[in-house]
């Protein structure tokens, strides 16, 4: 089946892509670039890096900008999916939704309207197992932003390895996959990449328990 993956460049959409590519043809990625950093719907840190990730994956990418206004942003998403349907003849859309009924039901509605399949291959999965699968698959994932206690600047830009996973598990206040927006991630490598993304220039902006890694140059 020809599929499009809703792609944020973070760990969940990357694992959804990995699961989709088995027995299917992922013909494009769709990235929504939201101007609203607090969007409930779309991931925002380092969204510009998706272009470079798509190059390393050798999969075409459709990037759609949105102001990120609640519900109106869905029209922009629908437009991007319609474009993918017209250009690449996709038969279905894949998301990296794990727990969010808010996100998944909105994508389901759009797919229903456009007569497309909607797949959520990480849906309700055990959080620790997901991270473990990514580590086992040799994903290189960095924490690109934090948004809650007890995270602080020392976490930003760090790679999620087994040791970090153990540390995340020990924090009672958070979902270890960052499902509640406690942190966001960016993937620099998976076995589907032609080569690893190298960050050439970056800076950290952080205040108390909220901050992000700004990637200024990467290749």
């Amino acid at each position: 089946m020809k599929l499009a993956v809703l792609f944020t460049g973070g760990k969940d959409s990357m694992l959804a892509l990995h699961r989709s590519i088995k027995n299917n043809e992922v013909v494009c990625l769709i990235t929504i670039k939201s101007k609203n950093p607090d969007s409930y719907m779309f991931h925002t840190p380092n969204i510009d890096l998706t272009q470079l990730q798509a190059e390393k994956l050798n999969i075409p990418i459709i990037t759609q900008e949105t102001l990120g206004e609640k519900e109106k942003e869905l029209d922009d998403l629908k437009q991007a999916i319609q474009f993918a349907k017209d250009k690449y003849q996709i038969e279905g859309v894949v998301t990296g939704a794990v727990e969010s009924a808010y996100q998944s039901s909105r994508v389901q509605n759009i797919c229903y309207d456009l007569n497309l399949y909607c797949f959520n291959p990480l849906w309700k999965a055990d959080q620790e197992s997901l991270l473990k699968e990514m580590i086992d698959k040799k994903f290189e994932i960095i924490i690109s932003s934090i948004a809650s206690y007890p995270f602080d600047e020392s976490w930003i830009g760090k790679t999620i390895c087994q040791e970090k996973l153990n540390k995340l598990k020990s924090i009672k206040e958070i979902s270890i996959t960052g499902e509640g927006g406690e942190y966001e991630s960016t993937v620099l490598f998976t076995p589907l990449f032609s080569e690893k993304i190298k960050i050439k220039k970056s800076k950290i902006e952080c205040k108390n328990h909220a901050g992000r890694l700004i990637i200024e140059e990467a290749e």
Binding site: M1, R19, S20, K22, N23, N24, G92, V94, A101, S105, R106, Q108, N109, C111, Y112, N115, L116, Y117, C118, F119, N120, P121, L122, W123, K124, A125, D126
Partner: protein, 173 residues
Amino acid sequence: MKQKVLIINLNKHDLAYHEFITPIISIIKEADVVHYKESYNPNNYDKIILGGTPLKDNEFLENIKLFNWIDDFKKPVLGICAGAEVIALRLKCRLTTNKSIGLKKIKTINNNPLFKGEFEAYCLHSLSVELRNEKGYTELAENTEAFMFNNLYGIMFHPEVRNIYIVKKFINL
């Protein structure tokens, strides 16, 4: 006593397995899984669950004959969404178009062993069951979000998403 549970996968596409079958396995912990087109013996199990499918996958509706074992089966069967549609068709009920996607309020209208009162549940269906009440089928929740007939339970919402206690209660029936 340990229950022997069979989960029947109604999906046409492998990719949907993660979404509609894995969450049920996570709740039950131990169960056999079979695709509905494979051969299996329902009599080898204490409980049977028919899982859901994506909105666009209705291939199973063209293969209702493969579920004729339901007609004489005496042990508990739970149909979730697509699975409920299978049970409804085996009971000679009709399906009508009725899209429902997202978190919805479910109102219990008849006492039953699986749930009570009002609660929120995740819906993902484009069809609804039209019960033939003269047959003695019981509507368990408003808008036929759930129904039962003897040992057969049909639930149109997805209890494996926000109401896992329903699946656990079914296993312990």
